[in-house]
Amino acid sequence: MSVLIDVFTRMKSLDRKSTNMERVLFTEDFTFEAFDAALSELELKSSA
């Protein structure tokens, strides 16, 4: 499975408060496992 980079976890708390972006997920290698994992991550956050 390709590595899914979650930028949000590396953001400073100040930066998190100062953006409309709640989560930024990226991978350079497209796989459906990574795509599903990213969608699930955002769905989980959205329903929280």
Binding site: V7, D15, N20, M21, L39
Partner: protein, 336 residues
């Protein structure tokens, strides 16, 4: 927001996943992605926003239905707010110009817009607009983002010719300028300025440094990107209209970087320190033009702040106060 880099993808499988998602999705397939100030031609980028967007898919099959679909979208726009209308459109859709016009007629000049053209650098039309309807072709998606977004737009191209009147055009095929075959006029200007010949290289290798600039009343230029010729007419990425005036433009690395910095600075000034993250919509042809040095453009835009975004085929933006334009070879910087 979901962005996938162009490539050989099993479209059906992605289509099903998007249609099944409980998220409200907006995005597209693009020639490139920007992530933490680097450009990629593979992978995907997903950006979750704090607010849930009301996304509408607009089919672009015929002009009357475009206007109708935009009306039916029922976006609740807050006039004079700091929010923005986000849109991604199939870059090769015939109805793209009509869509921009219909959107402008519906929502007007007082709001901000940001978006870009989706699709493949192969210039073969394909399903490329992402929403909860899956992956769509000949379509656009629109959504109103209520939270503040600050936008800057610039390009850095300068005129190197007098103005030529567009005397015949068929959609995106520029037939004549000043009643002469468009390629004949263009060739004279470009070959004299570059001291190079189109006979010695593929058209785009030379044309990528010499786009057209559509002169606006306020002295600015909207860039139109020529990408092919049949030795008489010239194919453009986006439309021009008969009666408009075009200059041949030219840029060098330094002028493009100046343009990139200007877009970033305009967004920063409008933002007044509210946001520290940048979403950038940068034209894929700027990255092709700058090659290895494109990283310098990304540095100029990000200025050590975090930046994500897309490499698009045409850019859409309005900072709230002028006619909504489709740009080529331009940088749109949004702080959100």
């Amino acid at each position: 927001m979901v962005f996938i880099a162009d490539g050989v993808l099993p479209v059906d499988a992605i289509h099903a996943r998007l249609a099944a998602s409980s998220l409200r999705l907006i995005g597209g397939i693009f020639p490139g992605l920007l992530h933490e100030n680097k450009a990629f031609t593979t992978g995907f980028l997903m950006i979750g926003l704090h607010e849930t967007l009301n996304v509408s898919l607009i089919p672009l099959n015929n002009k009357p239905s475009i206007t109708e679909h935009i009306r039916e979208a029922g976006l609740i726009i807050e006039r004079n707010s700091q929010g923005a209308l986000i849109t991604f459109v199939d870059a090769l859709a015939e109805g793209k110009g009509d869509f921009i016009e219909a959107m402008y007629n519906q929502y007007g000049t007082t709001i901000r817009y940001m978006g870009g053209g989706a699709g493949s650098l192969s210039f073969q039309q394909m399903p490329c607009v992402l929403s909860n309807h899956g992956i769509s072709m000949n379509s656009a998606v629109i959504a109103w983002c209520k939270k503040p977004i600050s936008i800057g737009v610039a390009h850095g191209w300068e005129p190197v010719s007098e103005a030529f009147k567009v005397t015949e055009v068929r959609s995106r095929e520029l037939i004549t300028l000043n009643w002469r075959p468009a390629f004949e006029v263009y060739r004279e200007i470009v070959e004299a300025h570059a001291s190079k010949s189109f006979d010695a290289m593929p058209f785009f290798d030379l044309a990528k440094s010499y786009p057209f600039g559509k002169a606006l009343v306020q002295g600015e230029f909207v860039i139109r990107d020529p990408f092919a010729t049949n030795q008489a007419s010239i194919s453009l990425v986006d439309e021009v209209h008969e009666g408009e005036f075009l200059h041949v433009m030219h840029g060098q690395k330094a002028s493009l970087l100046t343009g990139a910095r200007a877009a970033s600075q305009l967004a920063r000034e409008a933002d007044q320190g509210l946001h520290h993250q940048i979403f950038c919509i940068d034209c894929i042809s700027r990255s092709l033009f700058l090659g290895e040095e494109f990283s310098e453009e990304l540095q100029a835009i990000s200025n050590h702040e975090q930046m994500f975004g897309i490499l698009s085929i045409g850019e859409i933006a309005n900072t709230g106060g002028s006619y909504l334009e489709l740009f080529n070879k331009t940088v749109v910087v949004a702080r959100l």
